[in-house]
């Protein structure tokens, strides 16, 4: 039980089914288990929620519809009608991150979004996808992206590297934001939960704090999923419309 005492023990990756593919470790870990769980949970939530698809929706169905409309409107407001083909992707990202964050709130759960590998991989694919879309759509014109309009030519040698670095920093800021929020929040919760027993009767104070913090964490789970999605939409918007 000793490992349970560290506030960081919750982020430990455990191999559930060890597997090797050549030299690469492809074990099925608790992180993979939570990802599979969240995909299954999303599928159950969406498919069973729409099973009867009544004209007057029940509670479950209206939550499903609400989440659909929420992302559809988000996409429409940030990207416009051209963004419609990308709706399935955006919706998948939102649901995956949201369920990952929320399932991590369950006791004994594991938050896979608290690992930079996971969030950075997602951000990297968003970044590469958006860049490919932009190049496919605008061909060489895409590279004018790095030269803001109305800048004198002699500034170009300085400004273009800066713009390129700024562009390349997108996946990092996108992934770090999600990862750091989840990591910090969950660590803070564990630290304060540790005080409850240690303080004995006075433990009521950190206990009350942890209750409040749990609520805050759930809000952050939603907010960070939303932020990840809206940033993806903004990048997509840049790719489709350049300046």
């Amino acid at each position: 039980m000793a490992e349970g005492h560290s506030p960081l023990a919750q982020f430990e990756i455990k191999r559930l089914v060890p597997m090797q593919l050549g030299d690469i470790d492809v074990s099925f870990t608790n992180s993979s288990l939570m990802m599979v769980t969240s995909v299954v949970a999303i599928s159950v939530f969406l498919i069973l929620g729409m099973r009867r698809s009544a004209l007057v929706p029940g509670r479950w169905q209206s939550v499903v519809e609400l989440s659909y409309i929420f992302i559809a409107n988000l996409l429409k407001d940030t990207v416009g009608p051209q963004g419609r083909p990308y709706f399935p992707f955006i919706f998948t990202i939102f649901m995956f991150v949201l369920f990952g964050n929320l399932l991590g709130m369950l006791p004994y759960g594991f938050t896979f979004t608290s690992h930079i590998v996971v969030t950075f991989t997602m951000a990297l694919f968003v970044f590469l996808g958006v860049t490919v879309i932009a190049i496919a759509k605008h061909k060489m014109h895409f590279f004018s992206f790095f030269m803001p309009p109305g800048v004198p030519m002699y500034m170009a040698p300085l400004l273009i590297p800066i713009e390129i670095i700024s562009y390349l920093s997108r996946p990092i800021s996108l992934s770090v934001r999600l990862f750091a929020n989840m990591l910090a929040g969950h660590t803070l919760m564990k630290v304060f939960a540790g005080f409850i027993i240690a303080l004995g009767a006075a433990g009521i104070a950190p206990w009350a704090f942890v209750v409040a913090l749990t609520g805050l964490e759930i809000v952050i789970a939603f907010l960070q999923a939303f932020v990840f999605t809206i940033l993806t939409c903004l990048y997509l918007n840049d790719a489709l419309h350049l300046h």
Partner: protein
Amino acid sequence: MSDNKKHSDLDDLGARLNQARKDPIDPTRIEKNKNSEKGSALSLAFRVGVELVSAVAVGTAVGWGLDKWLDTRPWLMLVFIILGGAAGVMNVYRMASGFGYAVGYQKDNSDAGNNNQSGRD
């Protein structure tokens, strides 16, 4: 009396429904948007920090990579750390100048778009 009241309730509901149909944005979105746009000072500070640091990190990595490739250690890395810092400040400036999250590019391109032709090679 009560019948009359019911009618007016229904009319009211009808009016609200029509209003809602005209304005198909659901209320949760606006609220959330407002929340995240304004946010707390802490989350703003966090965003600024991430933007600033990530650009410097990318600048450093690019410089290091170029150095390794061109065998010019350590000069390009020094240059690119500074460029990365500049990019970070630019990110923050863009974010702060009323753009929400965007590491985006100029939004009102009505007048800037004309200059684009000359700006582009």
